[in-house]
């Protein structure tokens, strides 16, 4: 049986797909910012915090890292309204993605912080630096440099994972794709095009992160 590929209908819906792309980008960028904030604060609490705080952060990290994102998303979007917390799809998506990325980021940042040799910290102490100064001048910069590649690939994976929010009807790129699919019946074409867009996004993000790394760390 022969099939003629027909991309015209898919490309005709480009403005519609573009709207989805914008939400995908928004979700990705906001989540990266919030996830990084959670990651830095959480890792600091995990490494330097009081014992109960350390345990609380560990429970959060393990709970998130050992359950699927889509279930977390369903729990927040479908489950929480019965507890009186109701969010629209975009907000629920943003919350779920941030909580998810935060847990992974904590682990990465923690590994970076713990990789700083003890002698470095002792050197700081012997120079009479306060703990805050040691963190600010001795620990954080080399730690960030070490964790940057892992963070960057985690962020790219997150960008791809935002496609899951289509399952709670957030109007992201993947969701607009399934609407185009149901309108045009060009199943293969629309998903092939959208996969190509995600691939391009992933490459752009990788390039941006590589550039950022050069900008921040390479000259020092």
């Amino acid at each position: 049986m022969s099939y003629s590929f027909q991309f015209r209908d898919v490309f005709a819906a480009w403005e519609f797909l573009l709207d989805g792309l914008v939400l995908t980008l928004e979700l990705s960028l906001v989540t990266m910012a919030v996830g990084l904030a959670i990651g830095l604060a959480g890792a600091a609490a995990r490494v330097y915090g009081a014992p109960w705080l350390k345990r609380a952060v560990a429970v959060y990290v393990e709970a998130i890292r050992n359950t699927p994102l889509i279930v977390q998303l369903f729990l927040i979007f479908f489950g929480l309204p019965s507890a009186g917390l109701k969010f629209d799809a975009d907000t629920a998506a943003m919350i779920a993605l941030s909580i998810n990325l935060g847990a992974y980021t904590i682990e990465i940042v923690r590994a970076g912080l713990e990789a700083i040799p003890k002698s470095q910290i002792e050197a700081g102490q012997s120079l009479g630096l306060s703990p805050v100064q040691i963190f600010r001048y001795v620990i954080i910069f080399p730690a960030l440099k070490m964790m940057f590649p892992a963070l960057a690939s985690q962020f790219v994976l997150l960008m791809l994972a935002t496609s899951v929010v289509s399952q709670i009807s957030a109007q992201d790129l993947f969701h607009t794709a399934s609407i185009v699919q149901s309108r045009t019946f060009r199943d293969f074409e629309v998903y092939a095009v959208v996969a190509g867009v995600y691939l391009a996004l992933a490459l752009v993000f990788r390039l941006l992160f590589a550039g950022l790394y050069q900008l921040i760390f390479a000259r020092r």
Binding site: V71, F74, L75, G79, L80, S82, L160, A195
Partner: protein
């Protein structure tokens, strides 16, 4: 019909875990075969073969798993074949897991010092023999902890098969929600069941990694 979320529903969810495990097993076997090929391509002495491996990894790691599932499930109908969720899931997960396992195993292969290959070739071993008797046995040890770690990712990602109607743990959760209208309890139970599957593996991966670090010293 609406009814209460009862013990029987929990049992249904537990029973649905077997399809999550079956899908994980299929993905791991299929992905393992693809991954082996990818790892070998990536360490091949021939540049064009290395490029094929690199492009494969770049393409798969740069696209959402969901897109693969949809392309196989909805898209392949253009060939006039009726694609079952099983086939679509098996194909998608093999492609996906192959890229990640391939990268993990390539890393393990490349962590073996060059001199080990050279020692093999100086003993007159062929390339295949060097791999078989010298490199792979050592690389396997290195590869086990991250492979177990990836298994956790795989178990979690089988949840995405729910969206093409594959009835595993997450899909069973959706169905239970539809009959009981207790989404919070149901999805919390589903999450707990995933946790029971994944957490021991996470711990095992960590323990293996620590043991290996000590072993190397």
């Amino acid at each position: 019909m609406i009814r209460e979320f009862a013990l029987i529903d929990v049992l249904y969810l537990v029973a649905a875990m077997r399809w999550t495990l079956a899908l994980t097993a299929i993905a791991f076997i299929g992905g393992g075969l693809v991954g082996l090929a990818v790892a070998l391509l990536r360490v091949s002495p021939l540049a064009p073969l290395r490029w094929i491996g690199t492009i494969y990894v770049l393409a798969v790691q740069g696209t959402p798993l969901l897109a693969w599932l949809f392309v196989f499930f909805f898209g392949l109908s253009i060939l006039g074949i009726e694609v079952s969720p099983w086939i679509a899931a098996a194909a998608s997960y093999s492609i996906y897991a192959g890229a990640f396992l391939g990268e993990i195993w390539r890393g393990a292969l490349q962590a073996i010092p060059r001199t080990q290959w050279e020692a093999g070739s100086s003993l007159g071993l062929s390339l295949a023999q060097q791999l078989r008797y010298i490199i792979v046995p050592q690389a396997t040890r290195l590869a086990i902890p991250p492979t177990v770690g990836f298994l956790v990712q795989l178990i979690k990602n089988t949840s995405l098969a729910a969206v093409i109607g594959f009835v595993e743990l997450t899909r069973e959760g959706q169905l239970t929600t539809a009959t009981t209208f207790r989404p919070f309890t149901v999805y919390l139970t589903v999450a707990a069941l995933y946790f029971l599957l994944c957490f021991p593996l996470t711990q095992a991966s960590r323990r293996l990694e620590r043991r290996m670090l000590h072993g190397a010293r």
